[in-house]
Amino acid sequence: MDLNYSQDELAFRDEVRAWLQANLPADLKEKGERYEHYTKEDLLRWHRILASKGWVAPAWPKEWGGTGWNVVQRYIFEEELGYAGGPPLVPFGLSMCAPVLLRFGTEEQKKRFLPRIYNGDDFWCQGYSEPGAGSDLASLKTRAARKENHYVVNGQKIWTTLAHYADWIFCLVRTDPTLEKRQEGISFLLMDMKAPGITVRPLILMDGAHEVNEVFFDDVKVPAENLVHEEGKGWTVAKYLLGYERMNTGRIGESKRQLARLKEFSSSKANDARFRDRLTRLEVELMALEITNLRFLDRMRRTGQPPGADVSMLKIKGTEIQQALTELALDAADPHASDAFTDAVRRRYLSMRKTTIYAGSNEIQRNIIAKMTLGL
């Protein structure tokens, strides 16, 4: 048993860290430290810097721009990326649509979309949730009716993150409403957000920010070539994506940076035993999660097995930690202060309540563990 990275892994980490430090634009880093919102241009700027280095999609096959790193190197990279600060890499194209195309897409689809995702030419969003289909995703109703060589789409998606920036949306749609088994009538469809009949309406969340949207489809014509995998196999595609090995589910690097920030600006509470104990418990929880994550990674490296329900555990703990960090930050802030930074800290507490709800609520994650790991 040895919990340390090898010399090679340490050298790799140092190389990544140094490069990120040298190449993350100062204004973007500072924006993050002030907890300001990133614009589309901010997100794309950092994306393109990483793309020009060849580091924007490490997990992809080499022929499409992947780095060929092993799982540990990819984990180190993701952690360092989070630890460095700066805009997040928006996952919808890079680590959601692209893996689906790589697994199920035609050669034409890969050639058409992957390079543009890589270079940040197309901004993608994800059309899964609907007003009546949240945790029960398979009950989705957005209808795609086949007419000759195209589909006609009608319906609505909701909570669509960054749809107002997006050039493209990948959607789960119902192509056959007659089947008794609901999952079998679902297909995976790519749509141009500029297509006539698509309307994006902002949903303002309680922190005042515009991140998510409602997307309406009104007789939208989608060429049949934009179908991924076979018609009626959309659920298979969605499930593949759930099991797709993401290294960063626990957001360890990001939370480490937030913890360091919190320690800085809560220094006046260093002698407050009640606050200090909460902070220590949180730090310990994060230490434990990092090691748990590394244990899963080590197992994955040795067995070659996909992570399965382990990801659910990382999601539950990772998001609980993220929320607890913002809550402690809220408590560390001067209650009478009204400056922009303190205001941002408060709004961040509001905003981060989303983390235990999105991407499969933590209750759904517990269902997954109960079923897959515990056999209940």
Partner: protein, 331 residues
């Protein structure tokens, strides 16, 4: 990076598990606890397998191992709720190895390794674990370490909450042999070592509590269905399993840092962090394991009520969460 036990470590843990399965089932344990509180046959077996000397110097018959070498063994002890005082003996023996003269080491350590001598370690003179069985006590008093023969000590033996033998001890004109003055650092190191072992033991006890509760959820029927089909209970066992995984991670950290740390500070931080998480997890897992068993969880007949007691004790052994929160913040 590697979270596996070495082949030797795994083989040892497996053979300990096999021995305990065969010779230390729950009924046997009950008889041991209800009787003298320990079994000389079991102790002799531990010596035979090489457990007692595993983390003691090779020059005195041991194997020169560390906390990671004992980790799998301690997990197996936790799963089985072993009451024989391995941790007190090993920790006291390591103190003799570190602090004693060559002569003192020769007089004590081979006997310990062979299972002829048992030791206990006393800092606080109340509730000294394993003292009623000990032939000699290693006593830490005012910064110095002494070796005291058990027959020269006044003892008030009692059973701890989990059935383990302990005693309040007192000295009156007792003959004490000096091991070492200025022994603070050595003792701190030994206590961190013991704490790491206790963490691993707690992980084993938690694993048992989770496994047996899961089994109960699958077999106990109410309203015509297994109670594990209820989401309210599914989510609670999931949280127990997560607690157990987080605890296991911290036990790995504590044991490996005890063996490999470059500084006392690094070691102490890791051990205190681990003990905080494991104390919290032990409380969570033990309380939920009883609750999810319903009335049966309260019953003395079921092993889960005994793992509850053990976890309650282990959560507090070598400092509870509050103590280690304080210590972690001071480092």
């Amino acid at each position: 990076m590697n979270f596996d036990y070495s082949e030797e470590q795994q083989l040892l843990a497996d053979s300990v598990r096999r021995f305990l399965q065969k010779s230390y089932d729950f009924e046997t344990r009950k008889q041991i606890v209800g009787g003298k509180g320990w079994s000389s046959e079991v102790w002799a077996q531990f010596a035979q397998i090489g457990l007692i000397g595993l983390a003691l110097p090779a020059e005195h018959g041991g194997f020169g191992g560390g906390a990671v070498d004992l980790m799998g063994v301690m997990e197996a002890f936790g799963e089985t709720l072993v009451v024989e005082p391995l941790v007190p003996t090993v920790v006291a023996a390591r103190l003799v190895a570190r602090a004693g003269s060559d002569e003192q080491r020769k007089a004590v350590l081979p006997g310990v390794v062979e299972g002829r001598l048992k030791l206990a370690f006393a800092r606080d003179m109340r509730g000294v674990l394993g003292a009623p069985l000990a032939d000699s006590l290693v006593v830490f008093e005012k910064g110095s370490l002494f070796l005291v023969a058990a027959k020269d000590v006044t003892m008030q033996p009692h059973r701890a909450l989990d059935g383990m033998l302990a005693a309040d001890i007192a000295f009156s004109e007792s003959k004490a042999e000096l091991l070492k003055n200025n022994a603070n650092q050595i003792v701190e190191e030994a206590v961190d070592f013991a704490t790491a072992l206790v963490c691993a033991e707690a992980v084993g006890a938690m694993k048992f509590a989770c496994d047996t509760t899961l089994e109960y959820l699958k077999t106990r029927k109410q309203f015509g269905v297994p109670i594990g089909s209820f989401q309210a209970l599914q989510h609670r066992i999931v949280d127990m399993v997560i607690s157990c995984e987080q605890a296991r991670s911290m036990a790995c950290l504590a044991c490996s840092k005890v063996d490999q740390s470059e500084s006392a500070n690094e070691r102490a931080r890791a051990v205190s962090a681990a003990k905080i998480r494991i104390a919290d997890a032990a409380r969570h897992v033990s309380q939920e394991s009883v609750q999810l068993h319903g009335g049966m969880g309260m019953s003395d007949e079921l092993k889960v009520s005994h793992s509850f007691r053990r976890l309650t004790v282990l959560a507090r052994a070598f400092g509870d969460a509050d103590f280690h929160l304080q210590r972690f913040a001071s480092l």
